[in-house]
Symmetry: none
Subunit: 173 residues, 4 copies
DNA sequence: AATGAATGAGGGTTCATTCAT
DNA sequence: AATGAATGAACCCTCATTCAT
């Protein structure tokens, strides 16, 4: 991975996240990256290839974020970490996460599969704690988490911190 | 509102909802509506004007959906109706709702303001029922509603019916 | 000639003069005249027909302006009136004259023929006054007059009044 | 400046001069230049940018034409060269000059500033020769030059050669 | 006479992509 | 690996004009 390649990825991530995939031209990406437009195609084949490269490079981020939760053995900790997940997203990664949410709607790229391991970990946790419907509980909590994440990334008026504390109390954590 | 005007709106709604605003060309809209492309601009000025027209015409739908909940006097009913809201969306209106969600991410058009009255009604309801943090409860429930709506519209694997019943039980309704 | 017909002509004259024939759309003319666009075509056939109508209606103005000079019997007066012609153009007729000049270049509509009678009158005048080359003198004076007119209509920095006095002195008038 | 860039400029100059700026489509320019239409915008940004490029490249021509007169020290020669200027315009440059005249009317781009140095040189010349109103003399002569130039470029019926000789005699040159 | 809906061709411009260097 | 010229299709939009009413 050359330096210019990285610059392209970085520029594309930021622009795709800010303006959307379709609204960002390869020309804009090239200029923003300080690179000739042709180079994008040399390295990433086409615009979609560029997107894939971003997504792939981000997969690690996603997995490491989830891994910390999934590896957890204490069920209460699994739930607590899920709830506070939003708080642990570094501001420098906002673009990546925003892009994830954007793509779900713009290109209908579902993130469901990626959530599956987390969902199972949660279901197990709720099961250990003798919740009646652990799977539904897991799904519900993920719904909350996603909603909270979306709210943060869109700059909604929601007070995230308060909401997280509120949820923790609700789950007696 | 002429017949062709309606056809344009209808076509645009469907295409914008399916493929996104930027990914849908006015040419495609015109062809889909069986209309000359120029007519779009005579009636709606801009591509964006076309979008606005769709949004405005949908405002009624949105308000009537919310009104039914807000007018409710029984606090328990307010909460129940909010939870089951997703179920009451007619399949014929999927395109409209999908567009709403899509736009939130594609054009960063926030729906926060529109939710405000509903949020207040919910807060009041929770307050009447002596919940400790009625506003946070309201916000949380809205997070759920949005999440569930999104899941349905994206064709997620979530079992909506089950989830709704689950939540109703949680709120003792 | 109905009232609306006149309004169209008036609007078209002003717009054609200000922005040019090609740069003025029939739509703009219609809006400026407070009239439906279709009406323009009902009355004037097409855009060029509208232009012709303006030109024809202006022909009278042009002829009456020249007539006063041509009818003059005193040769000195012929020359004097030609030189001061620019001064006698009413400000309300600027648009018409500006259009004349514009069209010469935009559509290469020559005004040469219309000048012919004036040129002959001038040649006769110079001949009566025993100028050596009366025809060339006539042509030269017309060159000056046109240049002066153009300068005025373009809002050039030339001091017209002074220049006219200067010319009158040169021709000993 | 690539070969195709030059071809575009050349084609645009010819077409703008012949048909006018507004009446010439970029498509026409591209076809005439044997080039893809997009290339125009890559190199010149806008249609207007294309025009500016032509104008800028022509500025040299204009300055060199004037320089020869302004540098002249003999006042009589200054006047003589001004009068005969029209004759010194190469036929290959007609398009450029025609465009200059056209633009004055089509886009109201004034050439006044460019004439200023020449006007001052003429005023000085007339002053040296003890003319009473050197500045007005200068302005009048420029009026003549412009008028004659216009006549030539429009293919008027004026006999340019004769007229120039006539004026030279008038100024005793 | 007058409107306003409707059209199809064409306007300038941007797009993702290719190619020679 | 990297550039920048070059392309052709598609973009949004405006045009002069026609037609039903």
């Amino acid at each position: 991975m050359t330096e210019k390649q990285e610059k392209i990825l970085q520029a594309a991530l930021e622009l795709f996240a800010k303006e959307g995939f379709h609204a960002t031209s390869t020309n804009k990406v090239a200029k923003f990256a300080g690179v000739s437009e042709g180079l994008i195609f040399r390295h990433f084949c086409n615009k979609e290839g560029l997107l894939q490269a971003i997504l792939n490079s981000g997969e690690r981020r996603l997995k490491s974020l989830f891994a910390e939760i999934i590896m957890e053995t204490d069920p209460k900790e699994v739930i607590r970490k899920t709830i506070t997940m939003t708080d642990h997203i570094d501001e420098s990664e906002y673009d990546f996460w925003k892009l994830q949410f954007k793509l779900k709607w713009e290109l209908e790229i579902s993130g469901d599969k990626k959530m599956q391991p987390l969902k199972m970990a949660l279901a197990n946790a709720f099961s250990s704690l003798n919740y009646e419907s652990p799977e539904l509980e897991a799904e519900l909590l993920l719904l909350f988490t996603e909603g909270l994440g979306a709210a943060v990334l869109k700059g909604s008026s929601i007070n995230t911190e308060e909401m997280i504390q509120f949820l923790l109390k609700k789950y007696k954590l």
